[in-house]
């Protein structure tokens, strides 16, 4: 009885934890993508839950074990770093190895051709130091409150440093792009002037020889 109560309580905690995050609706065959711009070596944890629309009640079924969710994560170079089909409820994790925009796409593994029913997707994405579970760390390493707080501060500062480094890399890219635009505009204006002069000269030469052949000049 005690074990059963514990199991029920644990299930309740899980349900409450997953019931409160943000949710949105997508069609069964629709694909929804989210972009996370993150520095390298950053952990991202996503919790999700999918519910199928129930036409009988007009609402959404509390749990729909039949549908699976395909999660695809692409790195900034468009390479797929995670592509798995998960069950209707679960979590996915990945760590970035290159800094930049990572695209997380979710779509159901439905085999229909056009849009079927609506799906309600609960989603919660946590990045960097928000993805760390401090309760777990406190328990495993037996840290006091102050030690745990200091650990949290250290993690936060580390994340801020990583973000600053990433900023520097991005600013460099921005600068390179601007300089490239500047160069291109310069070259284009020179080339355009040359092309105009050459075309003008060619026109005059060609017309002169044409009129001379026609004995009009």
């Amino acid at each position: 009885m005690n074990t059963l109560a514990k199991i029920l309580a644990l299930v309740l905690v899980i349900c409450v934890k997953l019931a409160t995050p943000l949710y949105f609706h997508i069609g069964e065959t629709e694909r929804k993508c989210f972009i996370e711009e993150i520095p390298d070596e950053t952990q991202v944890i996503g919790n999700y839950k999918v519910q199928l629309y129930d036409p009988r009640t007009g609402g959404f079924m509390p749990s729909s074990p039949g549908i699976g969710m395909h999660v695809e994560v692409k790195d900034p170079e468009d390479k797929t770093i995670l592509s798995r089909v998960y069950s209707s409820e679960g979590r996915f994790t990945f760590t970035s190895h290159t800094p930049g925009e990572h695209v997380i796409c979710l779509y159901s593994n439905s085999t229909k051709w056009f849009s079927g029913t609506q799906l309600r997707v609960h989603l919660d994405i946590q990045v960097g130091e928000h993805a760390i579970d401090y309760a777990n760390i406190a328990q495993k390493e037996k840290l006091s409150e102050l030690q745990l707080r200091v650990r949290q501060l250290l993690d936060q500062v580390e994340q801020i440093t990583k973000e600053q480094n990433y900023q520097r890399y991005r600013e460099e890219r921005f600068r390179q792009t601007s300089e490239s635009t500047n160069q291109r505009v310069l070259w284009w204006s020179l080339a355009q002037t040359c092309v105009l002069l050459v075309m003008g000269a060619w026109q005059m030469k060609h017309l002169k020889s044409f009129f001379e052949a026609k004995k009009l000049v």
Partner: protein, 215 residues
């Protein structure tokens, strides 16, 4: 045996309570693409008297504007902005229920937008262990808490900076590729016009051959 069971039971109860406390506060930030003529809605179940903040910023696309509507469970409009680039709105939930934040790009015909959104409900969950006892916290602990709050705001500023920088960078990249495309098109047009002019002029001065030879 019994004492061990009681301790594990108490520990489980504490963990359960912490789990529930953690579950009652959520902050989700998402960056998503809003296609043209589309409307995306995000729903969140909020309990009464919780302070929530909705923050959004348009990163790329068109004139960098989007329509935002925040609705209470009774369909009352709490916040509405038309063609806004970025804003932050804090409100306190007056009733239990599902609140919805909708972003609309229906006024745009061909520019799809990239929108960043941060919907945070409640305060940040306290670290496990802190806040359980009601004794006065030491100066060290309160300093650590202050540092934590400052670091939170640093991270927040970094996010805003990142979004602004992304906006500028994407515009610069777009400009770069457009300059290349336009200069190539311009060169082709100039060459085409020059050759065309010469051919037309030649045509004016060319005699048409009479077709009488087959009569």
């Amino acid at each position: 045996m019994r004492w061990g069971a009681r301790v594990s039971g108490a520990a489980f109860g504490a963990a359960l309570l912490l789990g529930l406390l953690a579950a009652l506060t959520e902050a989700v930030e998402l960056t998503f693409e809003l296609p043209d003529n589309a409307k995306e809605c995000f729903f969140q179940e909020i309990t009464k008297n919780t302070t929530c903040t909705l923050e959004f910023q348009v990163v790329t696309g068109g004139h960098y504007d989007v329509d935002v509507i925040l609705e209470a469970p009774n369909k009352e409009v709490l916040y509405r902005k038309v063609k806004t680039q970025f804003d932050s709105h804090t409100f306190t939930a007056t009733m239990d229920g599902v609140y919805s934040a909708c972003f609309s790009n229906e006024f745009s015909t061909f520019s799809h937008k990239l929108v960043y959104m941060d919907f945070s409900v409640g305060d940040e969950p306290a670290l496990p262990g802190i806040g359980e006892h009601t004794t006065v916290i030491t100066q060290m602990e309160s300093s650590a808490q202050e540092i934590h709050k400052s670091l939170n705001s640093v991270a927040d500023y970094q996010t805003h900076h990142r979004l602004r920088e992304a906006q500028g960078r994407k515009r610069a990249e777009d400009l770069n590729s457009r300059v290349l495309t336009w200069s190539i098109c311009e060169t082709v047009a100039v060459v085409f016009c020059a050759i065309g002019q010469v051919l037309v002029l030649r045509n004016f001065f060319t005699e048409r051959r009479p077709y009488t030879q087959f009569n």
